[in-house]
Structure formats: C-alpha cells, structure tokens
C-alpha cells in the first residue's frame, strides 16, 4: 500500500498516535548456566558445554544458580523495579528442536520483580516508562541450518536470561531506542549483561498498536520480533506504525499477530500462523522450590550497585558544567567514565575540567577510534595534558606525543625529549628567529608595515616553521607584535 494514495488524508495520518511496549531479553554474565553447572560461554564447539540437565535428559533436575538470581535482582534494583521476596518458577511448554525439555523454565504468575520505571530523556524532558515486570528464565539452544539439514547446538540451552517487560508507555520509535539504550547502558554498566545485540545477548521484541489521538481504547497490537540493532528497532517500529495506519485508513483492521522484521527490505511480515499458535500451558515448576529472597541478600546487592549512567550524566552537567552531549559521550562506557573521573582526581583543580573533557573526547577517544593502540595510563595522559596546558609543548606537539603514547606506551616526557618537542619560550631565541625571518622577507615586511595587516599571520607561520613548530605561539605573537609596532613608529 502506498501512502501517496492518501495525499488528501494527510491530516488523518497525523491524527494517529502509536502505543509501544517493549520486551527485552538480556543474557546474564554468570559463570555457569541458570540451572546447571555448565559454563555460560559463547562460541565453543557445538554441544560441548552441556550436561544431563541442559540436554534435558530423562531424570535430570534443575538447580537454581544463585549468581543468576543475584544479577537479576541487581538489574531490578537498578531499574527501580520492586523485588518480590517470594517468587515462583514456571514451565512454559512448547515443542521445538532447540528446546530439549519441551518446556522452558521461566517465571509467570509470580516473577522475582515487578512494578517499576525507567526514566528516559525525550525532547529534553524526562519521561518515565513504567516497567511491568522483570523475571528470570533460561535460554533455548540454537538451530543451525546447512542446506536441507538442520542441526541442534545446545551450548546456549539453559543460559540465564532476564526478561524485562515495559508497559505500553512508549510513543515513538525514537523513545523506544532511548529506552533500549538507557536499559542496555545500565545492564552493561553493572556487569549484568554484555549488551551485545548482534550476538543476541540483548534482544528486543516490540508490541505496537496505533489509535486516534485522544482515544482511550488501545488498538490491536502486533508483536515484532527479530530486530537486532538499535537502528533496526527504530526502522521496524517506524514501518509498523505506518503499516497499521495504512491498514486502518484503507478501512481494514489490524490483526493481532507476530511479525518478523526483514532488515534487508525494511518491512515486517507476518510469521506463519502455526508457529505462533501457542498455548504455553504455564504451570508452577514442580522441580524447584519457591525462590525466597531474604532482606540481607537484597541489601548486599543494593550495596554493590554503583552510580548509574543517567545519574552520572546529570552529575557531570551539574558538577563539572559539561554540556549534555559531552556528558553523554563520557558516560556511555563505564571504563571511559572511570578513566575521566580518575584524571579529574589527579588534576585536583589545576586544569579546567571542560578542557580535560575535550582532551578525553576530542583527542583520546578520537585517536583510539582512528588507530589501533592501547589506552595510556591515567597518570601519563594527565601529564600530557599538563605539558600542553603549562605551555611546555604546544597543542600540535601534544597530538604527536599522544599518538606515540598509544602506539608505544611510553611516558609523555620521554617522547618529548626523544622527539625534541619542547616548546621554545625563551624571548631571546624567538627574537633571533624573528629577526632572521624579517631579513629573509624584506618585501613582505614593508607591506605589513605599510598597512597590509593580513601578512601578520604569514610571519607567525614563518617563525613557527623555522622553530619546527616548537615555539610557543603566544610568545611569538607577542614579540612579533612588539617589533612591528616599533617598525611602524619608525624604530629599528
């Protein structure tokens, strides 16, 4: 269906609003699987990380991995979701070759955590997206299709997952992405998940419906699966909203169904009916006792939660007077944020924090992105900043030193000595050079004295060239200006 058919219905298009809820599955960074002691590890030879329990052999029984519970509770606490001191595991029954037991151990009626919210920034304002629940479950294995044959790899079977279900509080693809980013940042920050969408350790399904603005009743929703990057989440939701509006405007009804996103063609398509016609027949997992969390267990986890990206960002803006953009860049990766904060501690008020932020963002991160190399020690990087800020070397030399530091790991002072980059600041030396330059450029000098002010820059350049960039540009300016003034007055 083509939107152009509705040119005269443009108003109609804008009279709709989207209602979006997200279901996020995130793998947990536990050492072992959720219900057995097999290693929770990615990329090993198929079916090498398995045991009777995760193979679903007859007679095998699950045992709850407390580390998994701990990470789930940590996530819940960080996301402001209420912890349920008693929760139950349940079986979700369905047949599929990657599901060895024929059921997935999950949580259904009584999840470990429910009722919370995540604050996101949208158009500069804060918006709270309510979270319905967070629960623990196990992942399925993987099917590998080669030609006409399908193979089952159960290394992933039984690895721990948390599922986080939002309320339908999201109203645009952009909001969906900022919710996901915020969520992922938090999980990665707290070492709960590696947040890798491409490898599938952080996955998202979107429930989308549209309705006329102001309408109370929710429209019929479609569930979109198979979106494995933030960009695709935005595109898939965008497409789906348009599709549903098209359906309604052309007099049809949106059907409740599961649709798959095809990133190549940027469309969503219905899954075959049979695959989604599940009655999961949930019931309490009789092999596991209720999960009871005592207050001490919860408070210990609470203590282990560090400052979250959102709070960090706000603090950077307030405490360090950084821009929102800079704060965001600095807090996106916990390691970078920690690095930045280490340097601020070393600095102890000597250099303006804004300048340090610039060094980290524009020089260090930029250089790291462009080239291979290792991040220098905090002390070394701060010393480099000091060398430049104290005018011992100029900014250009600073860049050269940084590149060398990344490549070799050497200390900045050693590099400065080695490359003879120390700035020439002594007035006598600079004066000598200026005199030399005047001598060599008599014509230009006359023009400059005659009023051709543009040539000032030319002389600065020539002096820098002669000193191979080491002269302190400020000093050069100063002394040069003095000499020109003298000439103008008729001196020398």
């Amino acid at each position: 269906m083509n939107k152009n058919n509705y040119n005269d219905a443009q108003d109609d298009l804008h009279s709709f609003e989207a209602v979006i809820g997200l279901e996020v599955h995130s793998q947990l960074l536990t050492k072992t699987k959720m219900f057995c002691s097999c290693q929770n590890i990615f990329g090993k030879e198929p079916n090498s990380m398995v045991c009777p329990v995760c193979l679903g052999l007859p007679g095998a029984l699950p045992v709850i991995n407390l580390e998994g519970v701990r990470l789930a509770v940590k996530a819940a606490l960080a996301l402001n979701i209420g912890i349920n001191k008693k929760s139950l595991f349940a079986r979700k029954n369905y047949f599929y070759p990657d599901l060895p037991k024929g059921y997935q151990i999950s949580q259904y009626l009584d999840p470990v955590s429910s009722n919370g919210y995540l604050a996101i920034e949208t158009d500069g304002a804060e918006k709270r997206i309510r979270i319905n629940r967070l629960h623990i479950e196990e992942d399925a294995g993987k099917l590998i299709h080669i030609g006409n044959e399908s193979y089952v790899d159960l290394n992933r079977a039984g690895t721990p997952l948390i599922e986080i279900v939002s309320e339908p509080d999201i109203s645009s693809p952009k909001e969906a992405v900022s919710y996901l980013k915020e969520l992922r940042d938090i999980l990665v920050y707290l070492d709960i998940s590696d947040g890798n969408m491409e490898e599938g350790s952080f996955r998202c399904d979107a429930n989308i419906s549209v309705r006329r603005k102001g309408a109370q009743k929710l429209g019929t929703r479609a569930e979109i699966k198979n979106v494995n990057s933030f960009k695709f989440v935005e595109k898939a939701i965008d497409y789906e909203i348009d599709r549903q509006i098209d359906v309604i405007l052309s007099g049809g009804n949106v059907i409740q169904e599961t649709r798959l996103y095809d990133s190549k063609e940027n469309v969503t398509r219905p899954m075959r009916g049979k695959e989604e016609a599940h009655d999961y027949r949930y019931f309490e997992e009789p092999d596991l006792p209720p999960l009871i969390l005592d207050a001490e267990f919860i408070s210990d986890i609470k203590k282990s939660i560090t400052e979250l990206p959102h709070a960090k960002r706000k603090r950077y803006i307030k405490e360090y007077s950084l821009t929102e953009k800079d704060s965001e860049v600095l807090t996106q990766d916990k390691n970078i944020a920690h690095y930045f904060e280490d340097i601020i501690r070393l600095n102890n008020g000597r250099v303006e924090i804004k300048k340090i932020a610039n060094w980290v963002i524009n020089d260090l991160l930029f250089a790291l992105k462009a080239k291979e190399g290792n991040i220098p020690k905090q002390e070394d990087f701060f010393n480099l900043i000091l060398e430049v800020e104290n005018s011992n070397i100029n900014k250009n030399a600073g860049k050269i030193v940084l590149t060398e530091m990344l490549l070799t790991g050497k200390k900045p002072n050693d590099i400065i000595k080695e490359k003879n980059l120390a700035q020439v600041s002594d007035e006598k030396g600079i004066e000598d050079t200026i005199k030399q330059v005047f001598k060599e450029n008599q014509k230009e000098l006359e023009d400059l004295i005659g009023g051709k002010d543009k040539l000032f820059g030319f002389f600065v350049g020539e002096v820098m060239k002669k000193t191979r960039g080491k002269a302190n540009p400020q000093k050069v300016n100063e002394i040069l200006k003095k000499h020109i003034e003298n000439y103008k007055k008729g001196g020398n």
Binding site: G56, P58, G59, N93, P97, G102, V152, R281, F283, P286
Partner: protein, 500 residues
C-alpha cells in the same frame, strides 16, 4: 544350598561371618532367575556378568574391611525408571527402546558406594502409569501367588522379583501408590518415604511433585536398611531437604511391643467405606485389635476430603506428566518414527514419533494433562486440584494432632486377574484410592503384609493383602518401628510363600 530365600540382614550376617561369599549368593539368584523368571517376567533385562563382577568386588571389600556397608554384596533389582550409567533405561516404553543412560541416578550412585550387586532392571507400567504392570510395552509380569493375576503396579516387576525371591530387595518409585500397592498384592513390604527424603535425580519423571523413590523388601528391617543407604539431601535435587537421617536399621532392631503402649492409632473412616473388600476390612480390623491388645489407643478419625483425592491426583499427576514427557519428541530419544524417512514436517515427526512410541495409557494421561493445563481450563482443573491438595494436607495435619500413626488398607482388593481392569481405566484408578492422598500430602507410608484371603479362582490358593501405615512428615523411624512390631506378630513370611 539355596541361598535365594534370605533377607538382606540374613545375607549380611552370612557375609560378615564369612559363611558365604557374595558370589555364592549372587549365583543362587542367577540360577533362580533363569529357572523362574521366564514364568514370572519380573525382569525387563538382567545383567549376570555385571552382577558377578559386582559380587567379586564386594567380596574383596568384605575380605579387607571389618566394617562394610549393609548392602555390600547384596543382589538388588532396580525398577527400569532409575538411570544407570552405560545401561539401557526404557521406563517400559518403546519410545526409550534404545536409550542408554550416560549418567547414574543419585540413588544408584549411593547404592554403588554401598557396594551393592546390580542384578537387573524390573518391569513396570510404562512411565510408571498404571496399577497392574500391564501397561508395560514389553511384557506382562505375573503375581507369584497366582500366575493369572497381576502383581500390581507400577513397580510390579520389583514387587514380584522380591516376592518370588529373584533378588534380595528392590528399588521402585511411588507416585500414587506404585510401591505400596504392588507390595501389598505380592505379600512384601513397600515403603514410600517422605517426599524429599530420597533424591529424584536420575529417576525418570512421571509427576515431579508426587514421585518418590521407595523400597520393596522381604521384611521391615530390610526396608530400613535399604532406606538408610539412599536417603538424604542431594544438591542435584532441590526438592530434597536436609532432613535428619536416622539409623533406621538400629532403631528397627530395637523396636519391641513396648513402643505400642500408649501409641495413638487413627482409623480413617473414609478408608473403610464402599469399595473395600469385606475380607480385607476384617483383616485390618484384626490388626487394629492386635494393636489395642498391645496397649495402643485406637480412635476413629476423619479425612473428610479423601473423596476428592483421586480426582485431584489425576489432574495434578497428568498435568505434570504431560510436561515431563514432552522431551520424548522423536528428535533425540529412541523412537524417531521410521528414522525420519518420509516425514514431511517437524509437526509430523513429533506426531508420528509420539503416536508410535507411547502406549495407550500414557497417551490418555498426556491428553488429560494437556487439557487440564490449557488456557481457559487451568483455573477449573489444575488450580482447583492444587487447592484440594492443600485441603488434604490440612486433613492429615489436623489428624496428626490427635494420633501418632494412621492404619488402613493399602489396596481395596487383593491382586486382580490379568486383563480384568485394563479396559476400564476408572476402576484401575480406584486401585490407588487409599494410597494417593499420601503422595498429595508428601507423607511417608508403608505397606505391610497383614495376612491372606482365599483365592476365589484357585482352590486352596491364597492372595496376600497389605495394611497401610501412614505417619507424619519425616517420621520414618516411627513408621518402621511400628511396622516391625506388627510384622513380628503377624509372622507373614513364616506362614505364606508364593506358589513358585
């Protein structure tokens, strides 16, 4: 010398005083199995080579150590629901026809530590679903007291193997009476311990919240010995608990008539109503009088919700079973239909494999359970049944405020004829009417031979009947002690032997 009609403690004495070797004992059983089992069909398969090598290993241990575990060198049979590493485990189902277990059940691990002798796997109702062992996909086991009759079920092979002296004791499982009912029908002792006392790890699941391993033995002391060897917390089964494991054999040995004095015995009126064979009724009343004579305070009690127990049980058990049996889908286990040839779709592979791999009763229960858990029916069935279960637990809890132990029949009838109930599932289900509520309430219970009744189809023949003792959670020591005193009075083993 025929060494195959001894109890475990008798064999243990002989081994201890070096009167015989385990190899001699084992050979005696092997000879008897070769002679008799073709008639009884208690075993699905035997492993005599393994048995003899276990016996030799046990003999070496006996020679070296003065102190060795009770079960050292004792030939035991194992219901084919326990996984033994490197051995076939079929659960009497075609769908596991060629399943070789890659690991040991915790019970088996502990038996191996006790240097037991593994002699063979016993027949059972497929996936432990049934009360006659007629639902085995492989063979029909006969009752040693009358070869035309069933041994009970689902641990019918185990009960028959002990009753016919084809082993010294057997491990079975009891989900709704599967140890006690066949023990009752075969004239042996059957103990179902408290849920969580014995690990379920490595036991093929039928209904996880009801299944419990149990022992079938020649006498009460043997049952105590077998229980002690395998009971206790297992980190691989989170439904086991750190219950105190007592020295059951020593406690049983010390038990005498004096423990009955002042014992409060409850007779649940609901267990003596319509449906109970009148001869069994009077036999249990004799036991009641016996206890009274020994100084017990016998009172009538009521378990008012007993009438709902069969219904609640069949909802819960079939629901859990429908889920537990999903893994047998033809993808990994035994019965992939026609090895997948000519199969057009995944769905068809599942359907045909399960259709051809499961027997009739298993399918019936899968369908029942699937229905009970279906969207829209969950509240009416599974949830309701779980509520009834809570009521039944409360019934017992209330009763145990007033009494120490409950006495009743194990089975409403003695062993029935092969084929008599197989086409009438409801009457078959009622075979477990007195045993089912015990599983729902997680309680320990024991079936003890109480005597015999005349065999109506065989002149001069008798059929054993069992009494059931039920006690509060984790009071196996008391349960076994009381049973021991009754056993000494009834002297069943001295009076009655199977026809074989």
């Amino acid at each position: 010398m025929d060494l195959s009609n001894l109890t475990i403690h008798q064999i243990n004495d002989l081994l201890k005083y070096r009167e015989v070797k385990s190899a001699d004992i084992t050979n005696s059983y092997i000879e008897r199995i070769k002679k008799i089992d073709p008639v009884i069909s208690a075993y699905l398969y035997t492993d005599f080579e393994e048995a003899l090598s276990n016996a030799e290993a046990a003999d070496k241990i006996i020679q070296k150590n003065k102190d060795f575990p009770y079960l050292t060198g004792i030939p035991l049979s194992i219901k084919d629901i326990f996984l033994i590493k490197g051995k076939k485990t079929t659960c009497a189902s075609k769908i596991l026809n060629n399943f070789i277990s890659p690991y040991d059940a915790t019970v088996i691990k502990r038996l191996k530590k006790n240097n037991y002798v593994f002699i063979g796997k016993t027949n059972m109702d497929e996936f432990a679903m049934g009360s006659s062992t007629e639902n085995s996909a492989y063979k029909i086991t006969k009752n040693p007291f009358d070869l035309n009759r069933v041994p009970g079920g689902s641990s019918g092979g185990s009960a028959a193997s002990v009753s016919a002296d084809l082993c010294a004791g057997s491990f079975g499982t009891d989900t709704g009476g599967s140890v006690r009912q066949p023990a009752s029908l075969c004239g042996v002792v059957g103990l179902k311990p408290t849920y969580g006392l014995i690990s379920r790890y490595g036991i093929i699941a039928f209904s996880s919240s009801l299944d419990q391993a149990g022992v079938i033995a020649n006498d009460v002391l043997d049952a105590a010995i077998m229980l002690k060897a395998v009971a206790g917390f297992d980190e691989k089964d989170q439904t086991t608990r750190k219950f105190e494991i007592k020295d059951y054999p020593e406690i049983v040995k010390r038990a005498d008539k004096s423990i009955i004095k002042g014992l409060r015995v409850g007779i649940p009126v609901e267990f003596f109503s319509e449906g109970l064979d009148s001869k069994i009724h009077s036999k249990i009343m004799e036991i009641k009088d016996l206890l009274k004579d020994l100084g017990a305070q016998v009172v009538n009690i009521t378990l008012p919700d007993t009438k709902y127990s069969v219904a609640a049980y069949y909802v819960i058990a079939t629901s859990e079973a429908s889920s537990n049996l999903e893994r047998y889908d033809g993808i990994r286990f035994g019965g992939r239909f026609n090895e997948g040839k000519g199969i057009q779709s995944l769905d068809e592979l599942y359907r045909k494999s399960r259709e051809s791999g499961f027997g009739k009763e298993v399918k019936r229960r899968i369908i029942l359970g699937t229905f009970a858990l279906s969207a829209g029916y969950y509240d009416a069935y599974y949830k309701k049944a779980s509520l009834v279960r809570k009521l039944i637990i409360k019934n017992y809890k209330d009763s145990f405020n007033d009494v120490d132990i409950i006495l009743g029949p194990t089975s409403p009838t003695p062993a029935f004829l092969i084929g008599e109930k197989i086409s009438d599932p409801l009457s078959m289900y009622l075979s477990d009417i007195y045993t089912i509520s015990v599983n729902l309430a997680y309680l320990p219970a024991l079936s003890l031979p109480a005597g015999v009744v005349d065999n109506p189809t065989k002149k001069g023949g008798v059929l054993p009947i069992g009494l059931q003792l039920i006690s509060p959670w984790t009071t196996e020591a008391k349960l076994l002690s009381v049973a021991k005193v009754i056993e000494d009075e009834v002297k069943f083993r001295d009076k009655y032997t199977p026809v074989i």
